[in-house]
Point group: C2
Chain length 209, copies 2
């Protein structure tokens, strides 16, 4: 059976996609609050009410923007790591892809989630809650990846503790690079810290670097 497509819905989906791609870029620089409907409309040369109609409220636009950013993040960071088989190699691959994700400015303002999480960390409401959820999801992913390496006897560590430390190195490199106007050397520094930490926890496997 052939699926009949409604041209109107297709068009709506396309502009929605267009809007969200611009939205994540704006938000990564000026924040989810600085992301305004009027500005979005002007930069895309569409009507303000047209943009608004797609989301119904600013908050819904913000939530949709986070969802869009999450997909981009998954493609840029998680997927490359999962192309490597589980174990220490994948832990290392994830670290590499994260640092590259920040350095390459997949979002022009650096890591979208570091930015948004700081912006909404101390506020209440659905945006905060969703960001907290995504963060927890991410931290669990890191922890699980580490756990797999431990199960294979390639690492000896407290998974939660090591996940905290690696993630700390990621975020810190990201912020330092932003403050120092795209100074790339901080990524080498972070890579060094990650490597040393993993070497200290490595249990006699061939190191992946």
């Amino acid at each position: 059976m052939e699926t009949r497509v409604d041209g109107r819905l297709v068009r709506g989906d396309q502009t929605r996609r267009l809007v969200l791609r611009k939205a994540v870029d704006i938000a990564s620089v000026d924040g989810l609050e600085g992301l305004s409907i009027g500005r979005l409309a002007k930069e895309l040369d569409v009507s303000k009410s047209g943009v608004f109609a797609h989301f119904g409220s600013k908050e819904e636009l913000q939530l949709a923007t986070i969802r869009a950013a999450r997909r981009i993040y998954a493609d840029a960071v998680v997927q490359p790591a999962f192309a490597v088989e589980p174990g220490l190699g994948r832990v290392w691959a994830m670290s590499e892809s994260w640092l590259e994700y920040s350095r390459r400015r997949v979002f022009p303002g650096g890591c979208f989630f570091a930015k948004a999480s700081h912006e909404y960390g101390a506020r209440r409401g659905p945006v905060h809650d969703y960001l907290a959820e995504v963060n927890q999801e991410w931290m669990q992913l890191v922890e699980q990846t580490i756990s797999e390496a431990i199960e294979r006897g390639e690492l000896e560590a407290d998974p939660g503790q090591l996940a905290f430390e690696l993630n700390a190195f990621y975020d810190s490199a990201n912020m330092a690079s932003l403050l120092r106007d795209n100074d790339d050397t901080v990524y080498e520094r972070a890579r060094q810290s990650i490597r040393a930490r993993l070497e200290a926890a490595a249990a006699g496997t061939a190191l992946p670097w």
Copy 2:
């Protein structure tokens, strides 16, 4: 010779202080952009133009707010550490005072500078530049504190590298605590990471914990 005080200037200084104390609190939650002159005036029950006159522009208000936050930060974090004599003990004291500074919510929105630096990290202008300057100043302080411990033979490490790592643990604990709605356990996790890292670098001195 006795210094003659101008009552008008005294009054001006007091309100300026009042405004800035409120300003850092607002900014630590809603950001330096969310910090609006109108809101400041309303919450302090003074006139909008009165607040404005003190700074001349929003950007000047933001810069003054950062300066005020810097003083509070110096009192809460740096001073307690400098009460301890140089060396590993001071490195540890600084870590303790930092985590307490975040946990106690000296600023209601957590670390003022983590928040502001993320907000302005990807923008250009005087606010970004000043935040970068304060950050560099802070990182140098951490590095120097570590260097003193190395000179005394209490640590063996690359000072810049270790400073990066400790600071990463500070900031990460701060952000995690915000996202998890003031969950205090993350500070214990950070403390554990710091302790382990310092133990690994310690060179046969009595450990300060």
